[in-house]
Symmetry: C2
Subunit: 447 residues, 2 copies
Amino acid sequence: MTPSTSPLTTDLYELNMVQAYLDRGEDKEAVFEFFVRKLPARRGFLLAAGLADVLDYLETIRFSAEELAWLKGTGRFRDNLLDYLAGFRFTGDVHAIPEGTVCFPNEPLIRIVAPLPQAQLIETRIINIMHFQTLIASKAARMVLAAPGKILSDFGLRSAHGAEAGLFSARASYIAGFSSAANVLAGAKYGIPVAGTMAHSYVQIHDNEAQAFEDFARTRPEGVILLIDTYDTEAGARKVVALAPRLKADGIAIRGVRIDSGDLIAMSRKVRAILDEGGLREVIILVSGGINEDVLQTMKAEKAPIDGFGIGVNLDSSIDAPSLDCAYKLQEYAGVPRRKRSEGKATWPGRKQVWRQYDTNGRMAGDVLSVESDTQKGETLVVPIMRGGKRLAAESLDDIRARAARDLARLPEPLRQLEQGVVYPVKVADTLVALAQEADRFTARHY
Amino acid sequence: MTPSTSPLTTDLYELNMVQAYLDRGEDKEAVFEFFVRKLPARRGFLLAAGLADVLDYLETIRFSAEELAWLKGTGRFRDNLLDYLAGFRFTGDVHAIPEGTVCFPNEPLIRIVAPLPQAQLIETRIINIMHFQTLIASKAARMVLAAPGKILSDFGLRSAHGAEAGLFSARASYIAGFSSAANVLAGAKYGIPVAGTMAHSYVQIHDNEAQAFEDFARTRPEGVILLIDTYDTEAGARKVVALAPRLKADGIAIRGVRIDSGDLIAMSRKVRAILDEGGLREVIILVSGGINEDVLQTMKAEKAPIDGFGIGVNLDSSIDAPSLDCAYKLQEYAGVPRRKRSEGKATWPGRKQVWRQYDTNGRMAGDVLSVESDTQKGETLVVPIMRGGKRLAAESLDDIRARAARDLARLPEPLRQLEQGVVYPVKVADTLVALAQEADRFTARHY
């Protein structure tokens, strides 16, 4: 029973409700949509991510004998539920805005159409996957926009919120345009390029820093990156200069150096000068420690001679906004549109589509949100993904990454800045407003 | 290859360094300690958590044939490393501050003593587990202190950063004194009490809210909690009053109601009045939505008639401080103390112990940090946990939770407040200062 694969990674109330539905034979078609309610401060857009992992979940969700036995042992559930779970398969339809698409609040990132007990049971895990990956892809996109042409690598596994957060962060940031991740599992599971240098402890166990550099370079003759700040960064850079000719004689090239502490801008200039004077113009400089999009922007403005960045907790925990206000809400049941009216939390009912228009420069010019049966102008974003529990087509991660690059290039210029000061226009169509009123009248007649 | 169990949940540089160590036969005894460098804003203490999951990891870490094949396929590693990983077992010693202990920056939450390649390989995952669980236990402890006598339940799985974050959050908050979690897997895996109510969608699929309440109550005749804010909270409360006698006639008692939106303080008073007038004094009121320790403190000051709180993203993402500045640092290698001197990141070397003193009221009065061979006054916090890769004793989660309750009760009064304004005294003993100087002299001679 590991958290990423166990169907018990869910809230108890999902099981309670499924029990109640089964008891009443309440299994008509339900429509749920997942969407973000509003953007965090300083954010102008979202980058959709997580769908492929949701689809894997839907295709493989099974209750094991051990899990069923545990549920039975709680004494909370009756045999009709346990039998239902024993044979559980997701057989519904999925529509979604494809991963790597720039999107906005209230737009349906994913829509589930399935018999009610199915659509309910999967709620928690769908939110858990979609929320986090979209959160991180959206954060990573800001870093990508702030550091054009730079190498960005996800170094955040250690401070990520558990093992899956580290894995999902690597995936979401790669979609947004990061070059690589330090997380080895991200390479094994998703084919993401993995990257890594050395730790301070590696230098410390050696009696001599120069010897540590040489040993490491000879062990890893390709793409060696040496960490030079354990004791004295400039001295470390000079040792690299002294070492390089001896390694070169043996056919070993040093790819780069990493600096992990101190004033990174000032130090990168000193180190660049030392390397250049030593004939190592091709040796790149990577930095790490406290990097976020604002630091990246400052580095760019200061023209710091830094080629790449290892980014940890600011990415993996999305430090400035560690969550998105989001929901997986019932939109329709048994053919009737529904919406919640709780104070401050009313939602748009029905099965929705998004139409996007572009200006003459190919930049995004505005979206219209309406029911999918409506006719509006523009490119439609919500597409069929799964039918009857079967995926219609698989996308490669590189295809998704290419879509993200294309969409980030199509952002209106103000939204490409760290401080936007503008809100991208998402118009709610009259048809959808009318449907919401109809849903309210239905509710008023019945509740 | 799932993230919680795969040994590939690690940073590439750990494997690179192990490769280099194996190439040079560098496998002498290494000592690493994990500690938090400093407290986030507004925090006065830490609550240690995560150790049991680290021990599970150390006892079970194995590289599967599939994982080894993938590593080989990358072309990055030589056979000596692949053979080493194929037979990898952790055989080292572990000391730690037991889970549920109140502790402070620079105090060693866990110490690993093992042959260098072993101690290095496990770095990333140890930090990943200890950092997050300690982060959440420390956050949860603030909520527990702000809401004495109240029911607190972890509702945060959906917005946690992935599946494992939700699971670890349930565990860490239970240690800190939460009553339960909504996460079913937290029950199955750790034996934590699981709790849950119903969703708005449950009410919405019914044509009639009163019928939704009755159906749910009849399905779950024990401990029923009804969500009353889908349409109109006061009307919902009156429906509960109307329904209760009919259910009671069938032996079904309503345990409580939940309110998830609106002005929770004002609404809880109105609902309490409706329930009391309807003869339902024993029906409890739970609230959810935006609850954090400051809200809890306000509710207490306002004497809101609320019995329990479902707490989501503010807990599971530790919203105000989603990470701790922490490190797993080499303290000693081959019998020689080591420390890093990078700017602003110098650490205390050697194998450390913490001595704690109490005042005459049994409140914590100050800690001393020194090397374990030192003699200081007070209770020692760092204890042996694992020897030669074998756990010395297992602790139950309830024992850990009892330790946390005891330690939270022993906090000095200012540290029990949400704003402390004081710093708990942790003195660095002269012996440790002298050792740091010795480590620097060693480094100066060699680097």
